[in-house]
């Protein structure tokens, strides 16, 4: 019964068009009334404590780093580098998009920003070379959603904080599955373009490649910095985030010289506002999480799905299916914040490794970014590429399938996540 109160209040208030943060508080108020322990202090206390967390400080700094990269002219150099290497093969611009998406994923945590940057540069080139545009837009969207899986990732940070799981471990664990997502796109792209008549770019000389590499070198160093920082001693994700922001600032201002001091105010302001959006959501989610726990909603659910509790694979399938459903209708961070307190106790009870769950959960949420009706990355690519939404949805389909296939593989073979993680941790 408590579940019904929880769902009705949450979905009802979201349907009114209320900001999700407030819908979460309304849901908390409804649960308090239902449980008969209404107390406004519960709201006030959890709101503030929700925002008071040193680990979450990584969020503004990674956002800032991404923002600085954006205006610092990095995406362009990365695309140029990929183009010099891959432009001459059949369907080359598609592979360029995938490789550039993977590199950008290791620089920023935002799928939509990566997608926008790539689409803006690549779609005009693809149009000129005779590529099917809705399909190309679909590929770029599917490439963009790798961003939250490969560190840095705001998704891993808020999941790590909400689920009390090591963010460093999540970061390291995301690398290989993220690369697998990229690989699945390569395969899907090779299949769909095999019969297309496409114009190829001339093969770049070694000299041109070398120049593109040197040009993009500082951008390519960023993932080394973040992952290496966590692996070899900078330690906490928060500190790695600060380092990344400082690095991006220095590169943008003194190496690429595209970042002017006058632009800094705008960059800082945007980062601060974006931070406020996500943090206010996190704060409100803590209020509802407190009541979800109090009302024992996870217990009620695990009672409902009792037959699945003994079979980890079946349970993972069930939970991932739920995430897909929720992900069609909700944005990324709200899904993470709403489902984590509900699912984590079940994950723990069933003996599933929390880091493994976290990686699949975030991949699944990323996939939600390209499933209609609410898929912000679809909106972005449709806007930037000037392709109608319906066409983008059709275009993204083969790539969506490829990524769901990766997800299924990871559910069936957990070692695909765990073995590389053990290796990255150096053991």
């Amino acid at each position: 019964m408590t579940i019904v109160v929880f769902l009705t209040s949450l979905l009802g208030s979201m349907a009114l068009g209320m900001p999700i943060a407030f819908a979460l508080i309304v849901c908390a108020l409804a649960l308090m009334l239902w449980l008969g322990n209404f107390d406004s202090q519960i709201v006030a206390q959890n709101m503030i404590i929700g925002a008071d967390n040193f680990q979450l400080l990584a969020v503004p700094f990674f956002l800032l780093a991404g923002e600085l990269m954006n205006v610092g002219g990095l995406s362009k150099r990365i695309v140029n580098f990929a183009l010099a290497c891959l432009g001459h093969i059949h369907g080359g611009l598609g592979y360029v998009a995938i490789v550039a998406a993977l590199i950008l994923a290791a620089l920023s945590g935002s799928a939509a920003a990566d997608t926008a940057a790539l689409a803006a540069i690549l779609i005009p080139m693809m149009r000129n070379a005779g590529y099917d545009i809705p399909r190309s837009a679909g590929l770029i969207a599917a490439g963009g959603i790798i961003a939250p899986v490969i560190p840095p990732s705001i998704g891993f940070i808020i999941f790590g904080v909400a689920a009390n799981v090591s963010i460093s471990q999540l970061f390291l664990a995301g690398v290989v599955p993220g690369l697998m997502m990229g690989l699945s796109l390569v395969v899907a792209w090779a299949i769909v373009v095999r019969r297309d008549k496409l114009e190829r770019a001339p093969r770049a000389s070694m000299r041109e490649r070398g120049k593109a590499f040197i040009d993009g070198f500082f951008a390519l160093m960023m993932p080394v910095l973040i992952l290496g920082g966590i692996k070899w001693g900078i330690v906490t994700p928060t500190e790695a985030a600060v380092l990344a922001a400082v690095y991006a600032l220095v590169i943008g201002m003194f190496v690429y010289r595209e970042l002017k001091p006058s632009m800094l105010y705008g960059v800082f302001l945007t980062a601060a506002k974006t931070t406020a959006v996500v943090m206010f959501l996190v704060a409100a989610a803590l209020v509802s999480a407190w009541l979800i726990t109090q009302a024992n909603i996870p217990g009620e659910i695990s009672g409902l799905i009792q037959p699945l509790m003994g079979n980890k694979t079946a349970l993972m399938f069930a939970m991932m299916f739920l995430v897909v459903i929720v992900g069609t209708a909700l944005d990324f961070s709200p899904t993470v914040l709403i489902l984590t307190p509900v699912l984590m106790p079940i994950v723990k009870q069933a003996g599933i490794d929390p880091v493994y769950f976290g990686v699949l959960f975030i991949i699944n949420n990323a996939i939600g970014l390209i499933t209609p009706p609410v898929g912000i990355v679809l909106n972005v690519v449709s806007g930037v590429a000037r392709v109608p939404m319906g066409a983008v949805i059709r275009g993204v389909n083969p790539f969506l399938m490829a990524q769901i296939f990766v997800l299924v593989l990871l559910i069936v073979f957990p070692d695909l996540v765990m073995v590389p993680l053990a290796w990255l941790r150096g053991r």
């Binding site: 202090q41 206390q45 040193f54 009390n164 460093s168 692996k231 001693g233 906490t236």
Partner: protein, 312 residues
């Protein structure tokens, strides 16, 4: 007389910690005394928020009970800082005598003034140092070690005073940081070192017993005042009954954990009496420095009690 009640009790540790056994005993005892009317609903692993948050919820009357370490609460009652002082108790016997005696009562009385009823002191265990560089046998061995310590002025000063580098860090990141050698060491009770598998990434365990912070078993004063005399008596009695159980279980487990850590190949060293005494003297300045914030009267009283149990 007794009324139907659901007592929400939160814990920072997980249910498999000896506190789980303590709470089981507490629950059974209460059910027995109240004829099944007083029920205990346990929340584990910070599910209702951290120790400080839960304690604040008690003060505002939105939650009934918490079993919390004393350290996070020094912002509410500075006197609790006395339990953070380094090398406070030499062994469990001293700790029991002082906590269950007049000094424990003195602190409990002070807790009432900030809206908290302390029902009993449970055991968290002595904290010991692990690291990946060298056995710590004398205080000079601390020098230059990067150690993760709890975010607390007394702890920070204790380690700085020994010459170590104190690094603040969320507990969840400690394992990875130790593994990547970003930090050299950490300090926790044996049970935590065992359950968090720190022995996998740490070569040395030195039985420093440098701190003993008890668990407080707290009840919200606001809600307490609404209980009948019988209910209050039942809660107090059961907290004591379960205290004895919790201490028994944690001491057995502590020994088992130490054996396991040794079995995993960690090099364990005890301090010899003379070096332990030197450390205690070295740490003296931390006592003096913090006496004023903690409350000179409380520190003096603690000192007197210790002298008494040590038979000086």
């Amino acid at each position: 007389q007794f009324t139907e009640r659901n007592i929400r009790l939160s814990n920072g540790v997980n249910e498999d910690h000896p506190n789980g056994k303590g709470v089981d005993k507490f629950r059974a005892c209460l059910a027995d005394k109240s004829g099944g009317k007083m029920k205990v609903q346990g929340f584990w692993g910070n599910a209702l928020g951290g120790d400080l948050q839960a304690t604040q919820a008690l003060r505002s009357g939105t939650q009934e009970m918490v079993v919390t370490s004393s350290s996070p609460l020094i912002g509410i009652l500075p006197d609790l800082g006395v339990f953070d002082l380094p090398f406070l108790f030499a062994n469990e016997k001293e700790a029991d005598a002082i906590l269950d005696g007049s000094f424990g009562k003195h602190i409990s009385d002070k807790l009432e003034t900030v809206g908290l009823v302390n029902l009993a002191y449970w055991e968290n265990g002595f904290r010991n140092l692990t690291n990946s560089r060298r056995p710590v046998e004398k205080w000079e061995d601390f020098k230059g070690l990067k150690v993760r310590v709890m975010q607390n002025n007394v702890f920070l000063d204790t380690f700085k005073n020994m010459g170590a580098n104190a690094v603040p860090m969320a507990f969840g990141e400690v394992f990875t940081a130790l593994e990547t050698k970003a930090i050299d060491g950490q300090e926790n009770p044996f049970v935590t070192i065992d359950t968090s598998k720190f022995y996998e990434v740490q070569k040395y365990l030195s039985v420093t017993r440098h701190a003993y912070t008890p668990f407080l078993v707290l009840y919200s004063k606001k809600l307490w005042d609404g209980l009948s005399k019988d209910e209050q008596a039942a809660l107090r009695d059961c907290a004591v009954v379960s205290r004895d159980e919790q201490r028994k279980v944690i001491r057995e487990l502590s020994q088992a954990s130490l054996d396991k850590i040794k079995g995993e190949g960690t090099v364990v060293n005890e301090l010899n009496a003379q070096e332990a005494q030197r450390m205690r003297e070295q740490a003296r300045s931390v006592w003096d420095k913090h006496a004023a914030t903690i409350g000179p009267e409380t520190v003096k009283m603690m000192q007197a009690e210790i002298d008494k149990v040590r038979g000086k």
